[in-house]
C-alpha cells in the first residue's frame, strides 16, 4: 500500500472506531480494508494493529465459569486437618479481623466441616482430588490447579462481575469483549465471543445470569458476547421465516446488495459498504451455525467422553461439546456459565448433582481438545467467583442440611492448555483452607495472566471512556509467572 492509501485506510479505521464496525471481524472489514497485514495471524479481521504485543501462547479461551462458588475444600483443596478437627470450633486466628457474609456474621464458634467425600491422588503429578471430581482427577496431569485465589467480593453478582470485568460494578467490558476488541476475529462466519449457560438438573439454588456478564460495557456493542441459546434458534433470529428457502433468501440478498451498491455510488458513505458485508455475514451465519450445532457427525466414542447428557441442549455437557466445535472453528472466547454451586445447605445433596453434571464433561472437553491437538493453543479455565467456608453453615447433627457459606479468602481454580504448565499446583491455602497464604493470586493477577497468554500486556490494552483510560485489570494485576509453561 502506498503511504496515502495507507493513511486513508487508517483513517477509515478511525471512523469505524467512533461510528461503526471497528474490529468487528467480519467480511465487511476484510472487503473494505483487506486482511490486516499488521496482525500476527493472516486470517484475522479487525482488532487493534498493535496487538498482540508479543507472540501468543493461546489463540482462544474456553472459560467454564462455575457460578455460585464451588466449595474448594470439598473438591480440590485437600485439608487433612479438616478431618481431624471435624465438629470443633474454628480457631479465631484463622478469621480474626475478617468480614464474612451477613448469613455467617461472626464465625466465632462455627464448626470445622470435613470434606464429605474422600480424596485420592492422581497421575504422575500426584494431585489430590476428591471423589466428587474423579474425571477431573483423571486429567490432573494436564491441569494446573491454582489453590491460592482470593477476591474482594462476598456476594455472587458483584463477585462474578469482578472476575469477568475487573470491577464489581456492572458496566465495564467483559474479558471476551476486551479480546474481541483487541484481537479481532479469526473466523468470518461466527462471532468471536460466544456464551452458553446451563444449570444442573435437580439443583434449586441457581443464580441468574445477567446479560452484562458477557456485555461490552463502554466498548461498542458489537464486541458483546453472542449468546447461543438452549431453546429455539441457537442465535436470536437466526432462522429465516417459514417459507423462505435458501435460494429465495440468496436471490433477495443479491438484489439487496445491488440496490445498496447504487446507494453507495450516490452517497459515498462507507457505512453502506459495511452494511452490504454484514448482510452477507448474516447469511453465512445462517449456514454455519446449523452446521455448527449439528452433532450427527460426532462419533459415539467422542460423545461418550462428555457423558450421557451431551445431546441435550441446555446441559453443561452439550455446551462443552459445542465449545470444542466453536474452538475448532476459530472462535476466540467461549464462555460457558454453569449455575447451581451455591451450597449453603446442600453439600450432602445437590453438590452431587453439580459434580455429576459437570465433572465428566469438563474433563471430556480437555481430553477431546488434546486428542485433536487443540489443547496446545486453547486455554481452558474452570472456576467460580469465590470459595466456600471451610466451616459449617447449619447444624452439625443435621447432615442432610450441611452447607458452607460464601468465602472470598481462599479458593481454587484450574487452568490447562495454551501456555499453562501442566500437572502442577500453584499456591496454597492454610491448613484449613481458610486463607490463601502461599503465592497468593488475586483476581486481577488471574486476568493479567490470561491476557498475557493471549499475547497482551494487560497494562497496554486500554480504552478511553469518560476521560479515563480503562483496562480489564483496573490499575492492578501481575502476571502469575509460576503457572506459565
Amino acid at each position: 500500500m502506498n503511504p496515502l492509501a495507507q493513511q486513508q485506510a487508517l483513517q477509515t479505521r478511525r471512523q469505524f472506531f467512533g461510528r461503526s464496525a471497528v474490529g468487528i471481524g467480519t467480511a465487511a472489514y476484510a472487503s473494505l480494508l483487506g486482511r490486516d497485514a499488521t496482525a500476527s495471524d493472516e486470517s484475522r479481521t479487525g482488532g487493534l494493529p498493535s496487538l498482540p504485543h508479543y507472540a501468543a501462547k493461546a489463540k482462544r479461551v474456553i472459560y467454564m465459569f462455575m457460578n455460585g462458588a464451588p466449595t474448594h475444600t470439598d473438591l480440590f483443596d485437600y485439608k487433612p486437618l479438616q478431618q481431624k478437627m471435624h465438629g470443633e470450633p474454628i480457631p479465631e486466628s484463622y478469621f480474626k479481623g475478617k468480614r464474612f457474609s451477613t448469613m455467617t456474621g461472626d464465625p466465632t464458634g462455627k464448626k470445622v466441616l470435613a470434606p464429605v467425600e474422600p480424596y485420592r491422588q492422581y497421575g504422575e503429578s500426584g494431585a489430590w482430588v476428591s471423589d466428587f471430581m474423579k474425571h477431573t482427577g483423571s486429567v490432573a496431569d494436564d491441569v494446573c490447579f491454582i489453590k491460592s485465589m482470593h477476591t474482594e467480593q462476598v456476594n455472587h453478582a458483584p463477585a462474578a462481575t469482578f472476575f469477568l470485568t475487573g470491577s464489581e460494578m456492572a458496566g465495564r467490558p467483559t474479558m471476551g469483549a476486551w479480546l474481541s476488541y483487541g484481537l479481532g476475529n479469526d473466523t468470518d462466519n461466527l462471532p468471536s465471543f460466544t456464551v452458553m449457560t446451563s444449570v444442573s438438573k435437580g439443583t434449586t439454588c441457581g443464580q441468574i445470569f445477567y446479560d452484562y456478564y458477557w456485555g461490552s460495557g463502554f466498548l461498542p456493542s458489537q464486541f458483546q458476547g453472542v449468546k447461543f441459546r438452549a431453546g429455539g434458534d441457537p442465535v436470536l433470529y437466526l432462522s429465516s421465516p417459514a417459507g423462505v428457502t435458501q435460494p429465495i433468501r440468496r436471490g433477495v440478498l443479491d438484489d439487496l446488495a445491488k440496490l445498496n451498491e447504487l446507494q453507495y455510488q450516490e452517497f459515498a458513505d462507507p457505512e453502506i459498504q459495511t452494511r452490504i458485508a454484514q448482510y452477507e455475514m448474516a447469511y453465512k451465519m445462517q449456514t454455519s451455525v446449523p452446521e455448527l450445532t449439528d452433532l450427527s457427525q460426532e462419533p459415539q466414542h467422542v460423545l461418550d467422553m462428555y457423558g450421557p447428557d451431551v445431546k441435550e441442549r441446555g446441559t453443561f455437557a452439550h455446551n462443552c461439546l459445542m465449545a470444542r466445535r466453536l474452538a475448532e472453528r476459530g472462535v476466540r472466547f467461549i464462555q460457558l456459565m454453569h449455575a447451581g454451586w451455591d451450597q449453603h445447605g446442600s453439600i450432602t445433596t445437590e453438590l452431587y448433582n453439580q459434580t455429576r453434571d459437570t465433572d465428566q464433561p469438563s474433563a471430556g472437553l480437555l481430553r477431546d481438545l488434546k486428542q485433536r491437538g487443540l489443547l496446545e493453543d486453547t486455554l481452558i479455565i474452570w472456576g467460580g467467583e469465590f470459595g466456600r467456608t471451610p466451616f459449617l453453615q447449619g447444624d452439625i447433627n443435621n447432615r442432610p442440611k450441611w452447607g458452607r457459606d460464601h468465602h472470598p479468602y481462599a479458593f481454587t481454580v484450574w487452568m490447562a492448555g495454551g501456555g499453562i504448565k501442566p500437572g502442577m499446583t500453584y499456591g496454597a491455602s492454610d491448613d484449613l483452607g481458610m486463607n490463601a497464604v502461599e503465592d497468593r493470586v488475586h483476581v486481577h493477577d488471574f486476568q493479567a495472566t490470561i491476557l498475557h497468554l493471549l499475547g497482551i500486556d494487560h497494562e497496554q490494552l486500554t480504552f478511553k471512556h469518560q476521560g479515563r483510560r480503562y483496562r480489564l485489570t483496573d490499575v492492578h494485576g501481575n502476571v502469575v509467572r509460576g503457572v506459565l509453561a
Binding site: 456476594n155 444449570v199 441468574i208 452484562y212 456493542s221 442465535v235 436471490g251 479515563r468
Partner: protein, 817 residues
C-alpha cells in the same frame, strides 16, 4: 505503546486548527496536560505528586526552587519543557512507567505555547455562557458552520431533495416516516414556507413527544422492572407518560428540570409535579436476600446524583466516591455535599418492593371510579353495622343459653368503635351473630367482604415511586472508598465551588439545587442540553463526549455556535420546541447527505458539517417504521407497557424459568416501541444498540453487525410488516410496477429510479415463479404473524410481494434517516 503513522499524526494535529502559529491554550494545550499530567498533577489531592498542580493557573506558573514551571516566552527556562524533552529516565515526564507519553508534535506545541507567551484560560465549559455576535439577518447556525467551512476552504452542500428532506425531518421529530400524502403535499407545495409548515405540523404531532421521550428514558434509566436477582415488575409507566406529555405540551426545560428533581418540594406541589420526581426513582433496586439495606440505599443515592451530573452537567462524578476528581475541579468532599441533597428521603434500601414509598397511587379513570365506588359502599356497609350494633346483645338477650364470659367479650368488642375492631374480633361478632342474630351477622360479613375488596383494589393500583424529604434531615458523611459502613467527616449540602453559589437565602435542599442547575448563571445545563439535541439531529454533538464536558472531554467542534444556541435556549425561555425548530430550519441541517469524494475522505465523521446527516435509525425507530408503513401501527398514546413479539423462552432461559414471557395479543403487538415492557435483566430482544437502561446513558450506539441484519430480516415483526405492506400496495393496484413504486416510496419516501424498478420487478417475477413452484411455502410464509391477511389476494402473488417488501424494508436507505 501504540504509535500512529506519522502522516496521520500530522493530519490529526492540524484537524480543526485554523492557524498552526496561533496556539489556543484551551484547544491545544490543556488537553495535552489533562491527558498526560493531571493524573498525578491534577485536582486529586490524594495522588498529588511533588505538590505540583498543573490544572490551575497558580500551579502552572509557580516558581519552585528558583525554577519556574512555566516562564512565559522562555521555553528553555521552563521546567515543564525541560522535563518533557529530557532523556534522563529519572526526570522524564510523563514517567516511562506511566504508560503515558507525549508525541513530538505535542512537545512542539507545548514549547511553542511557552515561547509565544503562555496565555492561560480556565476550562471552557466552566466559564459563563457568552452570546457571540451574529450579523443581522443570518441564521446563527449557518453563519458559524459556514465560517468554519470557509476558513478551511470547504463549501456547504446544497439542500437535500424534498423527498429526502421530509423523510429526515419527519423521522427526527416523530420517529416515524412521512405518509405518502404528507410527501405528496410537500412535493406540490412550492410556497417559500412549505418546509416550515411541515416542521410546525410535526412539532404539534402527539408523536413528537413519544420520539423525544425515548432518549430521555435512556438518560433516566427508565425500565419496567427492578433489575438484579428477582427483577420484580414496577409501575413507573405513569411517569413515562408524563414525559411524553411534557414534551408535547412543551413544558419549559427549566421547569422540566425542576419538576423532575424536586417537584415534590415546590409550594403546593401538584400531582404532576410530584409524579415528575419519578425521574429520580428510576434507578435499579436490589432485592437480593442477604444484602445490607443501607448499602443499597447509598448505591441508590450515588446513582441519583451521578445521573443528575451526567444529564445536567455533563460531568462524571463517579470517581469522586473514593477520591478527588482526577481531571476536573470536583473534590471528594464536594461530591458528598451534592450527595447530601439526595440523602433526605425516607427510603431505607431494604427489600425489593418495586413500589417502595414514598409513592403516588396512580389509577386509570376507571380504576379511580371503582375506587370511589368501593369506598362509598364500604362506608355504607359500615354505617349499617354501626346502626345495628346495639341490637346484637338486645336480640339475643336471655332467649338462649349464653355464657356470661362470652357476652362480656362481645360487649367489650362492641364498646370499641367499629373501625378499631380487628378482623379477628369482627369474625367473633360474625360467629356470635350466626348463632343469635343472623341478620346482624350478614351485615358484618358484607362489611368485611366489601372492605377487603376495597383494600385489594387499593393494593392493585399502580404506584409510582416519587421523591419526598423527611421532616428531620439525615446527616451525611464522606464515605471512605464509597463504603456505606465507613463514614468519615460529616458534610452539609452544598454545591461545588467551581460554579456560581446557591443564593445565600436558599434552603439547602433539592429544590434549590434544581433551580441552581438551570439558573442562567450556571455554565453547564444549557450547553449540555443543546449539545445532546445537536447529537440527536446531526448525529454527533459539538462535544462528541456528550457525557463529559470536563477537561478530558472533547473540545467543541463549533464553540461559538454551541455558545449561541445555549444562550438562545436560556434567553428564549428554555423553549425546547423552539430550539428543535431552529436546528431543523437551518440550511446546515437541510443539506444533502451526499458526500463528495474529498469531504468523505477528509471528514468521514462529518464533524465540519459540510453535508447533511445520514445515519442508520435507532432500532426502536426501525420497528416503529415497519409498523407504520405496513399500516399495522396502533397509534394509541400511553398506558401500561405491552409485550410485543419476542422469542418465548428468552425470559425463562435467563431466569431459570422464574419469569415467563406472556406475549401480547391484538393491539399490544403493534404499539410503538416506547411502550414495550423493559425487563432490566434481559431487555427486549428486538432492539439493538440501545441503552441497557441500567444506568444513565446519553450516548447513541450506532454499530453495524450481522445480528442486526438477522433481526430485520427474520424477526416476526418485520416479516409480518412486509406481508401487510405487500397487501396494502396490492390492494391499491393490480399493476406490479405501480405496487412496487408505492411500496418503495413507503419504505424510502422517494420513487425508485428506472434501474431500481427494473431490479425489483425482475426479483418479483423470480419470487413468483419460486413460490408458484412451492405453494405450500407461500402459505407458510404468509402465516407468519398474528394479523389475518386478505384471503382474496392470490397466495403466490402475495407471498412473492411479501418477499420483495422484506427486501425493501432492509434497503440501506430504508434503515437510514
Amino acid at each position: 505503546m501504540t504509535r500512529i503513522a506519522p502522516p496521520l499524526l500530522l493530519l490529526l494535529a492540524s484537524y480543526g486548527t485554523t492557524n498552526a502559529a496561533e496556539i489556543d491554550f484551551a484547544r491545544d494545550i490543556r488537553p495535552i496536560l489533562s491527558d498526560n499530567c493531571y493524573h498525578c498533577h491534577g485536582p486529586d489531592e490524594g495522588t498529588l505528586e511533588a505538590d505540583l498542580r498543573l490544572d490551575t493557573k497558580d500551579g502552572l506558573f509557580r516558581v519552585v526552587d528558583d525554577k519556574a514551571i512555566v516562564l512565559p516566552g522562555k521555553a528553555d527556562d521552563s521546567e515543564l519543557i525541560r522535563r518533557v524533552v529530557t532523556n534522563d529516565p529519572d526526570e522524564r515526564m510523563p514517567p516511562p512507567d506511566s504508560n503515558r507519553s507525549l508525541t513530538p508534535k505535542q512537545i512542539e506545541l507545548l514549547s511553542q505555547w511557552v515561547e509565544t507567551g503562555a496565555t492561560w484560560k480556565g476550562h471552557w465549559s466552566f466559564q459563563p455562557v457568552v452570546r457571540p455576535e451574529v450579523p443581522a439577518g443570518q441564521s446563527p447556525i449557518d453563519y458559524f458552520v459556514r465560517e468554519r467551512l470557509t476558513r478551511e476552504g470547504l463549501t456547504p452542500s446544497p439542500e437535500a431533495s424534498k423527498e429526502r428532506l421530509i423523510r429526515r425531518v419527519t423521522i427526527d421529530l416523530t420517529g416515524l416516516p412521512p405518509t405518502l400524502e404528507e410527501i405528496d403535499g410537500f412535493l406540490v407545495d412550492d410556497s417559500p414556507d412549505a418546509y416550515e409548515r411541515v416542521v410546525d405540523r410535526l412539532l404539534k404531532s402527539p408523536h413528537y413527544g413519544e420520539r423525544m421521550a425515548w432518549d430521555w428514558l435512556d438518560a433516566a434509566r427508565y425500565a419496567d422492572s427492578n433489575g438484579f436477582q428477582g427483577d420484580r415488575e414496577r409501575t413507573m409507566w405513569p411517569w413515562r407518560d408524563w414525559v411524553v406529555r411534557a414534551f408535547n405540551t412543551n413544558l419549559r426545560y427549566d421547569q422540566f428540570t425542576v419538576w423532575q428533581l424536586a417537584g415534590d418540594l415546590l409550594p403546593d406541589a401538584t400531582l404532576e409535579q410530584k409524579l415528575a420526581t419519578g425521574f429520580c426513582r428510576n434507578h435499579m433496586i436490589n432485592g437480593e436476600g442477604g444484602r445490607i439495606a443501607e448499602e443499597n440505599r447509598i448505591e441508590y443515592i450515588f446513582d441519583q446524583m451521578e445521573t443528575m451530573g451526567t444529564v445536567w452537567m455533563g460531568l462524571t462524578f463517579q470517581c469522586c466516591r473514593c477520591h478527588d476528581h482526577k481531571f476536573d475541579p470536583i473534590a471528594r468532599r464536594e461530591y458528598y455535599q451534592l450527595f447530601a441533597f439526595f440523602n433526605q428521603t425516607p427510603v431505607n434500601g431494604g427489600g425489593g418492593d418495586p413500589q417502595t414509598a414514598p409513592n403516588l397511587v396512580f389509577g386509570s379513570p376507571e380504576q379511580e371510579a371503582e375506587r370511589q365506588r368501593l369506598h362509598r359502599e364500604t362506608d355504607e356497609a359500615r354505617a349499617q353495622v354501626e346502626k345495628s350494633d346495639k341490637t346484637l346483645l338486645g336480640e339475643s338477650d336471655g332467649s338462649r343459653a349464653v355464657s356470661e364470659t362470652e357476652i362480656k367479650r362481645i360487649r367489650n368488642i362492641l364498646a370499641k368503635p367499629l373501625l378499631d375492631r380487628n378482623d379477628e374480633q369482627l369474625s367473633e361478632l360474625e360467629k356470635y351473630g350466626d348463632k343469635h342474630a343472623p341478620e346482624y351477622a350478614k351485615l358484618v360479613r358484607d362489611f368485611r367482604v366489601i372492605r377487603k375488596k376495597r383494600d385489594d383494589q387499593h393494593r392493585s393500583l399502580p404506584r409510582v415511586m416519587i421523591m419526598q424529604d423527611m421532616d428531620k434531615p439525615r446527616k451525611s458523611f464522606m464515605l471512605t472508598k464509597g463504603l456505606y459502613n465507613q463514614p468519615g467527616e460529616e458534610v452539609n449540602a452544598e454545591t461545588p465551588k467551581i460554579f456560581p453559589p446557591l443564593p445565600s437565602d436558599a434552603p439547602k435542599n433539592r429544590l434549590a439545587l434544581a433551580k441552581w442547575l438551570v439558573d442562567p448563571s450556571h455554565p453547564l445545563a444549557a450547553r449540555v442540553t443543546v449539545n445532546r439535541y445537536w447529537q440527536m439531529f446531526l448525529g454527533t454533538g459539538f462535544v462528541k463526549t456528550t457525557d463529559d464536558f470536563g477537561s478530558q472531554g472533547e473540545r467543541p467542534s463549533h464553540p461559538e455556535l454551541l455558545e449561541w444556541l445555549a444562550s438562545d435556549l436560556v434567553q428564549g425561555g428554555w423553549d425546547v420546541k423552539r430550539l428543535h425548530k431552529t436546528i431543523v430550519m437551518s440550511a446546515t441541517y437541510r443539506q444533502t447527505a451526499k458526500a463528495s469524494p474529498t469531504s468523505s475522505a477528509d471528514d468521514p465523521e462529518n464533524r465540519r458539517l459540510s453535508r447533511g446527516p445520514r445515519f442508520r435509525m435507532s432500532s426502536w425507530m426501525l420497528r416503529d417504521q415497519a409498523l407504520a408503513m405496513s399500516g399495522l401501527l396502533v397509534g394509541k398514546l400511553g398506558g401500561r407497557p405491552v409485550n410485543p413479539y419476542q422469542p418465548a423462552d428468552v425470559w425463562s432461559e435467563a431466569t431459570f424459568g422464574k419469569k415467563k414471557y406472556q406475549q401480547g395479543k391484538g393491539e399490544d403487538l403493534y404499539r410503538r416501541s416506547l411502550y414495550s415492557f423493559w425487563r432490566r435483566i434481559v431487555g427486549p430482544t428486538m432492539f439493538f444498540d440501545e441503552s441497557k437502561r441500567q444506568t444513565c446513558s446519553v450516548k447513541l450506539g450506532r454499530t453495524n453487525t450481522p445480528l442486526h441484519a438477522l433481526t430485520t430480516m427474520n424477526d416476526v415483526t418485520y416479516v409480518e410488516a412486509a406481508r401487510a405492506l405487500a397487501q396494502r400496495v396490492m390492494r391499491s393496484s393490480d399493476q406490479d410496477p405501480i405496487c412496487i413504486e408505492k411500496a418503495f416510496r413507503l419504505a424510502t419516501s422517494r420513487r425508485p429510479t428506472e434501474v431500481e424498478s427494473g431490479i425489483l420487478l425482475a426479483r418479483l417475477e423470480q419470487l413468483k415463479s419460486q413460490y408458484a413452484a412451492a405453494p405450500e411455502q407461500a402459505k407458510q410464509f404468509l402465516a407468519v404473524g398474528d394479523s389475518t391477511r386478505d384471503a382474496d389476494l392470490d397466495a403466490i402473488e402475495h407471498a412473492a410481494f411479501t418477499g420483495l417488501c422484506a427486501l425493501m424494508l432492509n434497503l440501506d436507505e430504508a434503515l437510514t434517516k
